[in-house]
């Protein structure tokens, strides 16, 4: 190398050597400056950044409470009905131990140990899952103590990540309204499905979705329905509490219920909602609607007018009453004793066209107005023959959901304005205007008549002192393969309280109640559905601001002299 340099110097001369030296010095200097410049630039940028941060702060906006993965559902008073809950899941991670065997022990042993912790698990299935070597859930929603016991098994492959699960603190209460969500996190049933978009939308899910339900009312209704159902050995029961002035549903119960926190095969058939999904021939509860239509149309003007009460022959079909109420009845008596014959005559005078148009206005020819998926009524289209008009007038030949009935009764007592039912809480300005079906005078007359049915008629068992309940019983035979079944009934009690200024409609329905000791061997609505209303109203009335008062009632003094004594269905 030295020889090479020397030889170059010799060959090019001294001047060139100096030149080379100077140039390399210049290059070195330049490089140093470049490095210094770069560092200075970086320093300045850093300083600017620091200054910027110091002045402007961090770019990311402040967040309040972290958004839940899915919006909460609360009742009208803010009681949480569905919310996110960090629960443990049991996750199988075969790669936890690296590339070796996934489990310390054999899959069979681990599966047996897991079954000791969760007795309802299938050991063979667990063993297959563990042996498959695929990462997967073994179980969801495990309790912390179970997680500890699994931890004690000493299997690193069994992990329990904490996941936000949907949780329903009230258990099976209002399960049919709330519904449930699938494993994909989307609603499958009830309001979870209806409001799925809103609950998942980051813009809305921060605030809870408010339902119109009142959990205290819902609890009382379910409790009393369950009692009534047990007392009468009924197959099922349903109930609604509806605000007559707004159409808000305060409680909606279908029994037997299910627990949305834990869906097992036994509870799957109970997911069916009797109140909105199933249509029933509701029977005599339709009579007040017929009578109201007749009063509205001017067909019934004189409450004292008497109608013959003997069996009615119409085109080879005979209309009977549950028993003989004498030769004749007037309209108040017909309602009090629940006479099919007189109601049919009233409907006959009213005519099918007018009855049909009223019922169409009440929405009996379409699915009920409620957010939940609902059943379609069995509704006769076209012109009604005379016999259809007559049977429909007392609730046969027309199948409705109890939800239809609740809305219709709300219109019947609130002054005649029909409003769609809703499960969402309405602010005072949001209440729909509704459409007028009956005049206030008709509604006032119906309040008197309904109150009389409870004070002296078939609904006496529903009369809670001080609450001024009015309502109508209905016991309809269920249609079977060979006509109506005499022993399988749908019994309904449609009521409203307080009758001097109706606030709430209460519907109680029993599916196939039996005659038991508790119901004095009877299976009609007066013995099973009416007492439920009589027990529910005192429980919910004070909560809803309806205080019992023995000094008030709707004035029935003009109708009271018109009625005799007797018992009806």
């Amino acid at each position: 190398m030295t020889s090479l340099t020397v030889s170059t110097a010799i060959s090019t001369g001294r001047v060139q050597l100096v030149n080379v030296r100077q140039r390399s010095l210049l290059v070195a200097k330049l490089r140093v400056w470049m490095v210094v410049g770069a560092f200075t630039l970086i320093g300045i940028v850093a300083l600017f950044r620091i200054a910027w941060l110091g002045i402007a702060g961090e770019g990311e906006g402040r967040s309040g409470i972290a958004l839940p993965p899915r919006g909460e559902i609360v009742d009208r008073n803010g009681v949480p009905l569905a919310r996110a809950f960090p629960a443990y899941a049991l996750w199988y991670n075969p790669k936890a131990l690296g590339d070796g065997p996934a489990l310390v022990r054999t899959p069979g042993e681990v599966a047996a140990a897991l079954v000791r912790i969760f007795p309802d698990e299938d050991e063979a299935k667990l063993k297959a899952k563990l042996a498959s070597g695929k990462p997967q859930y073994l179980r969801r929603r495990i309790m912390p103590e179970d997680a500890n016991r699994i931890h004690a098994l000493g299997e690193p492959a069994l992990e329990f990540p904490r996941e936000a699960e949907r949780y329903y603190p009230q258990g099976s209460m209002a399960a049919h309204v709330l519904g449930l969500i699938g494993t994909d996190g989307h609603g499958r049933l009830g309001m979870e499905a209806v409001m799925d978009k809103q609950l998942m939308d980051p813009a809305f899910r921060g605030a809870p979705a408010v339902l119109s339900l009142d959990s205290r009312v819902q609890g009382a209704l379910e409790d009393e329905l369950l009692k009534g159902m047990r007392l009468s050995n009924a197959k099922g029961a349903g109930g609604i509490v509806l605000d007559v002035d707004t159409g808000e549903v305060l409680a909606l119960a279908s029994l037997p219920s299910f627990n949305p926190n834990l869906i097992d095969p036994a509870s799957v058939p109970n997911i069916f909602n009797r109140v909105t999904n199933q249509v029933y021939e509701l029977g005599s509860v339709m009579k007040p609607i017929t009578v109201a239509s007749a009063i509205e149309a001017g067909v019934v003007t004189d409450m004292a007018r008497r109608y013959p009460a003997g069996p009615l022959q119409i085109g080879g079909f005979t209309i009977h009453d549950s028993h003989n109420f004498g030769a004749s009845l007037n309209v108040p008596e017909a309602l009090i004793h629940s006479s099919n014959i007189v109601t049919a005559q009233v409907a006959d005078q009213l005519g099918g066209v007018r009855l049909k148009s009223t019922m169409e206005a009440l929405g009996f020819n379409r699915r009920p107005d409620i957010e939940l998926p609902a059943g379609f009524p069995i509704w006769r289209k076209g012109e009604w023959p005379r016999i259809t008009t007559m049977t429909v007038s007392y609730g046969h030949g027309l199948a409705l959901t109890p939800m239809h009935l609740a809305s219709a009764y709300a219109a019947l007592v609130n002054g005649g304005v029909w409003r769609p039912a809703t499960l969402k809480k309405l602010e005072p300005g949001q209440v729909p205007e509704g459409k007028r079906i009956w005049q206030p005078s008709t509604s006032a007359r119906m309040r008197q008549l309904l109150r009389m049915i409870v004070s002296v008629g078939t609904g006496r068992k529903a009369d809670a002192p001080g609450y001024r309940i009015g309502g109508k019983t209905g016991s309809a035979e269920k249609p079977g393969a060979h006509g109506y079944q005499r022993t399988n009934l749908i019994t309904t009690f449609a009521a409203a309280f307080p009758m001097d200024k109706p606030r709430y409609v209460v519907i109680a329905m029993m599916d196939e109640p039996q005659g038991t000791v508790a119901t004095s061997g009877q299976r009609t609505a007066a013995w099973n559905a009416a007492p439920v209303v009589g027990r529910v109203v005192p429980r919910i009335g004070p909560l809803l601001g309806v205080m019992p008062d023995n000094t008030r009632d709707v004035d029935i003094s003009d109708l009271a002299p018109l009625i005799g004594n007797g018992d009806g269905e």
Partner: protein, 279 residues
């Protein structure tokens, strides 16, 4: 090098500028530090909120409607209020404090056991029983009613003399709870029992009178009182031991009944029952 005026000025400006800049930087750093503290605090608050929500959920679960209903059925038995439990206005409230009208039935003095009959055999030493329905003394139905005050005056000293146990101080210190109980059919039950006692004493048998105290299980004080009274009574007379057997029974007994019976079961044996036993 001479420092000219303008030069000093410019250096001064530069220094001021530098100081201001340094202060600004320091201030902004400080602000940022506080901001990050706030952020940390917010994160902490979020954590606490989540924990609160968790606890709230747990509380809601443990106190859900069904649990509360069951608890009420088993433990409390609260029922829906009735119309009588509501007062709508001040007027109704004032109505409750209305003085008794001239035709109102007299209050019944049930807890005064000092109203004994005369000390003679066959006469009752128990308080004159008042029929709650008619408002008259039961004795009045058979014989002329002895004014209670007189009876007291007669029987009091005699009893004290006989028993020797009841000194004046005892008697004065013995304060009776005068329960003014409104007329109610519930009073019939204690009366019937008192009548039993009366019957056995009327026979003059020296048998121990069994006082049936209608005492609810939780009303330990009543039972204790009765026992204490029985113990107190034993040294008074040697002829017979009045055993105040307290049989707890009748869970349906109302508090009103208990007040009414208290003197009969508990304090009465102190004095009059010795009388019963000896006669």
């Amino acid at each position: 090098m001479m420092l000219t005026r303008s030069r000093v000025k410019s250096i001064g400006w530069a220094v001021i500028l530098a100081v201001c800049f340094a202060l600004t930087i320091a201030l902004s750093f400080r602000v940022n530090a506080v901001r990050s503290q706030v952020r940390l605090a917010e994160r902490h608050i979020n954590g606490l909120k989540a924990e609160q929500a968790l606890l709230e959920t747990e509380f809601e679960t443990r106190a859900n409607q069904q649990q509360l209903t069951q608890l009420n059925e088993v433990e409390f038995g609260y029922q829906a209020p009735t119309a009588g439990q509501y007062l709508e206005s001040e007027r109704q409230l004032a109505d409750l404090g209305k003085p008794r009208g001239p035709d109102a039935p007299p209050m019944i003095r049930v807890a005064a056991n000092d109203a004994q009959g005369s000390a003679t055999a066959g006469d009752s030493v128990l308080p004159a029983m008042v029929n709650p329905l008619t408002g008259k003394a039961l004795a009045a139905e058979t014989s002329a009613a002895v004014p209670q005050g007189k009876a007291n005056a007669k029987a009091g000293p005699k009893l004290a003399e006989r028993s020797g146990a009841a000194s004046l101080a005892d008697r004065l210190g013995h304060v009776q709870q005068l329960a003014h109980v409104e007329k109610s059919p519930k009073m019939i039950a204690p009366n019937a029992e008192l009548r039993d006692i009366k019957a056995s004493s009327g026979k003059g048998s020296a048998q121990a009178v069994k006082v049936t105290a209608v005492a609810k299980a939780p009303a330990n004080s009543t039972a204790k009182l009765a026992k204490a009274a029985a113990i107190k009574a034993t040294p008074g007379k040697s002829a017979a031991k009045p055993s105040a057997g307290t049989t707890a029974s009748k869970a349906s007994a109302k508090p009103v009944v208990r007040i009414a019976l208290k003197p009969a079961a508990a304090t009465a044996p102190g004095k009059p029952h010795q009388k019963v036993a000896t006669d």
